[in-house]
């Protein structure tokens, strides 16, 4: 029978194993220079309109630094969801997969250094005919506070409030008479899913009547759908505040009203248009019984 004292040798062995493991964990993730070298392969792989997703998500800043805005534009990084994309490039390290692409079909896979690049197809992709967030511009949109027009300003003063303050109020926005907080413009808020970014149209209900956004000549799909939300870190404790209503009208006819409560987080809505293939004016009206701290922001598209 072996001497039981020999079992003690497992202790120093454990120490040496941990030493080896420390060396391994410290070097297993690619470093900044490796990410930089990946730009070319990803650029060669990506076609226009394809989404670039990083797995695991914590490596996203490294990918953004390496790939730049051309391969990872704000509208993709702060997307409402993945349903509007037909294809995606998954940049994977450490054997991780992107949970948001689960169920997508892998059509190509290649290794590049310590990275795995996969091209994936969305089996349920929905073609977006019109993204309202992309058309917050004076040639496509008119905005009103009640009946008063909100003037387009391409050089408005930008403001943001750090952790406890407002999201960035962008330089290009329709400024309403009610004051600084009342405008229609594109910004990014944090959502209820561990503070992910959501690009959306700021639509704080203003003091003198509802906020009305009239989009001209919108090519309609089967439905108009989107999400409403409020900056989560500011409103995650808010319960029972006056809800915000978002009503969608097509050609003057109401499709329905979405009622947003603070505690819902980034929450979806969808209305059937009944006018697929046609073009029409779409009015989105945002209102609330109170205008205090109703920091509403929404994304919408037709598909």
């Amino acid at each position: 029978m072996p001497d039981k004292r020999l079992l003690w040798l497992a202790v120093p062995l454990a120490g040496l194993v941990e030493l080896g493991a420390q060396h391994w964990v410290a070097h297993r993730a690619p470093h900044v220079d490796e990410w930089a070298k990946l730009r070319e392969p990803v650029a060669a792989l990506r076609q226009a309109g394809e989404l670039v997703v990083v797995a695991p998500g914590w490596a996203d800043p490294l990918a953004r630094q390496a790939f730049g805005d051309a391969l990872m534009p704000l509208r993709d990084v702060a997307r409402p969801d993945e349903s509007g994309y037909a294809r995606a490039i998954e940049v994977s390290i450490l054997g991780e997969r992107a949970p948001e692409l689960r169920g997508w079909r892998t059509v190509a896979e290649a290794k590049s250094g310590r990275f795995t690049l996969r091209t994936l197809e969305n089996p349920k992709a929905e073609r977006v005919t019109f993204d309202f967030v992309d058309h917050v511009k004076p040639d496509a949109l008119a905005v009103f506070e009640g009946t008063q027009p909100c003037a387009w300003n391409a050089h408005a003063p930008v403001s943001n409030g750090s952790l406890g303050g407002n999201p960035t109020f962008p330089a290009q926005r329709f400024m309403c008479p009610g004051g600084e907080w009342f405008f229609a413009g594109v910004t990014v808020i944090d959502d209820d899913h561990e503070y992910r970014p959501r690009r959306c149209i700021w639509a704080h209900p203003p003091p003198s009547g509802p906020l009305r956004l009239r989009f001209a000549n919108v090519p309609l799909g089967k439905k108009i759908r989107g999400y409403g939300g409020m900056p989560w870190v500011l409103f995650r404790d808010s319960v029972g505040a006056p809800p915000i209503e978002l009503e969608v009208r097509v050609g003057g006819q109401s499709l329905g009203v979405y009622v947003h409560k603070d505690e819902l987080g980034w929450s979806p809505f969808s209305f059937e248009t009944g006018r697929e293939g046609q073009s029409a004016e779409v009015e989105i009206e945002v209102r609330s019984s109170s205008i205090k701290d109703r920091h509403f922001c929404f994304q919408a598209d037709s598909r």
């Binding site: 003690w8 202790v11 120093p12 410290a26 993730a29 790939f67 303050g165 960035t168 503070y195």
Partner: protein, 568 residues
């Protein structure tokens, strides 16, 4: 043995302890320059400067210094924490930086008392481990403590976390010496140290219950006889703590000299009703109760080297067996008789003494972790809140190391002594190599560092464990800022406190033309320190700067911790 040799032998261990302390302080000083100043350090710089002004007044015009107006003016700064450590920061700055010019950087002079106390904690851990488990085991305990990544990080700071761990350890060590035949000098010393501990941080409130529990349990059945006879004799050290502790606490904190009741009540209320901050744990950000009960345990597992934890568990297991032998001897004997088995051996005097020592260590660990048995205790601040437990964890590890060396030495009993000694040294190297590699490898990303058991920093990021807090990693991108920020740039400093940023500029670590900005919109350069609930700040920068691409990403083992944007 000659008197000289006896003297030298008596001096050896204190000398080793001091050498360890000196080495540790030297290491901390050598590595402090690339560790940015944490949020709280900024507040304590400010408080220390205020207290320093009072000390100046005290030396210049003592009478005026004791005037209530002067006290309120200078001591109101950061009055939610007691004064001792901030006073040391102030005196270090005044004497070591301004007057004697021994420390060149202001910030380092503020940090120095914390480093010194951390070094002394390493020394006392060695001395205690030496007394209980032997010299080499004491060294293992000391190195294990010094190289815990979170200990190594906090030991650099102008904060209270390592000072309170050190003061707790000193007080407990003095108590142990006093109840181990050390006499009234150690008892008196315990009282004084407890006064200093009270004046260090509010963790001090937890120590008396631990020591009283130790007294009651260690006395065993005898205490009931004494109670019945009405002749209970509390250790002198506890009496000294009760008498000297509060007196010294009061004497060394001028803020409570006036309006004492109200100010003490405010101090207690601040900590018993502390606001909740955000903390990520397993992919979820907690900002209000209920807090996860597994937090303290998993964070310990993920941030203390596994070999140290393994030794701790072995030491704890041996202590449990010893406790059973000492405390439940009667039961074991009765059971053996009933079962017709051989009677167990009665515990030796050495075992009874060790039982008392190990009980004390265990109680210190349990009381340090006890607040996290409640779902109402905030989890912000992470491991620093139970850092007082870590020296005791290492002392248990030293006990296990002793067992290890005895086992291996017995295997080599027939071999030359030199080989046995070499084997012991080799074993010490084996159990400290990983902690040293992990500890040194964590710098300057201390709060982002995780052990291999959770996959290191990449594994922790995937698990969703907190990546950083306190905004100190600005120090890790100071080189990039100095090189790439435009002349006169306004830098949005995000989670770095203004005072911490200013100190980096004053120390010459950042270009003097750079100035802090409080919102991205006011900036040319923007920093972002990652925590999930802070992400909205990242998004503010994206929209403001019109780009999602950082110009620089500061990483620890490939994991992004801080990133920097340049306005296009």
């Amino acid at each position: 043995m000659t008197r000289l040799r006896r003297f030298l032998a008596a001096c050896l261990d204190p000398a080793v302890g001091l050498a360890l302390a000196a080495l540790y302080v030297a290491l901390l000083l050598a590595t402090t320059k690339d560790l940015g100043y944490a949020r709280d350090e900024g507040f304590y710089f400010q408080a220390a400067r205020s207290y320093e002004a009072w000390f100046d007044l005290l030396f210049r015009s003592p009478k005026a210094a004791f005037d209530r107006g002067a006290i309120d003016r200078f001591w109101s700064a950061n009055n939610e924490h007691p004064a001792l450590i901030k006073s040391l920061f102030a005196l270090s700055h005044k004497l070591l930086h301004l007057e004697w010019k021994l420390i060149r950087d202001e910030g380092t002079s503020f940090r120095f008392p914390g480093m010194l106390l951390s070094g002394l904690a390493v020394a006392v851990t060695y001395l205690w481990g030496r007394r209980v488990s032997g010299r080499l085991a004491g060294l293992v305990a000391a190195v294990s403590l010094a190289m815990m990544p979170r200990v190594f990080y906090h030991a650099h700071l102008d904060c209270f976390d390592m000072p309170v761990a050190a003061m707790w350890l000193f007080t407990t060590y003095a108590y142990w010496r006093s109840v181990s035949g050390g006499g009234w000098v150690w008892a008196l010393f315990t009282g004084v140290l407890y006064g200093l501990l009270l004046n260090t941080k509010h963790n001090s409130w937890l120590l008396p219950p631990a020591l009283v529990a130790h007294f009651v349990i260690a006395r065993g059945e005898g205490i009931w006889r004494e109670l019945r006879a009405g002749q209970i004799r509390a250790p002198l050290a506890l009496v000294c703590m009760a008498l000297i502790g509060p007196t010294l606490f009061y004497a060394l904190w001028p803020w409570i000299w006036h309006d004492t009741g109200r100010r003490l009540a405010a101090y207690v209320a601040f900590h018993t009703g502390h606001e909740y901050y955000n903390m990520e744990f397993l992919g979820r950000t907690y900002w209000k109760p209920p807090m996860p009960l597994g937090y303290a345990w998993l964070m310990t597992l993920g941030t203390v080297p596994a070999i140290t934890l393994l030794l701790f568990l072995i030491g704890l297991g041996r202590a449990a067996l010893r406790a059973h032998q000492v405390r439940l001897f009667g039961l074991s004997r009765a059971l053996a008789r009933r079962l017709g088995r051989p009677e167990p051996a009665r515990a030796s005097a050495e075992d009874r003494a060790l039982f008392s020592t190990e009980l004390l260590w265990l109680l210190c660990i349990l009381t340090s972790y006890a607040p996290w048995l409640s779902k109402g205790t905030p989890i912000f601040g992470g491991t620093k809140h139970w850092i007082t437990a870590y020296p005791f964890l290492c002392l248990f590890a030293a006990q296990a190391f002793l067992m290890l060396t005895r086992a291996v030495t017995s295997l080599l009993a027939e071999r030359p002594r030199a080989l046995r000694v070499a084997a012991d040294v080799g074993l010490a190297a084996c159990v400290t190599a990983a902690p040293v590699a992990i500890g040194l490898g964590s710098h300057p990303w201390g709060l982002s560092a995780y052990t291999p058991i959770v996959g290191g920093a990449p594994g922790a990021a995937t698990l969703g464990l907190n990546r950083t807090f306190w905004g100190y990693t600005t120090g890790a991108v100071q080189g990039f800022l100095n090189e790439r920020a435009p002349q006169g740039a306004a830098v949005f400093i995000h989670d770095t406190a203004g005072q911490s940023w200013d100190q980096m500029v004053r120390d010459g670590r950042l270009r003097s033309d750079l100035r802090a900005a409080w919102a991205p919109a006011q900036s040319n350069v923007a920093l972002y320190h990652h925590e999930p609930h802070m992400l909205r700040v990242d998004y503010q920068i994206w929209v403001d700067y019109g780009s999602v691409a950082p110009a620089h990403v500061g990483t620890h083992d490939g994991v992004p911790v801080i990133w920097v944007y340049l306005r296009p």
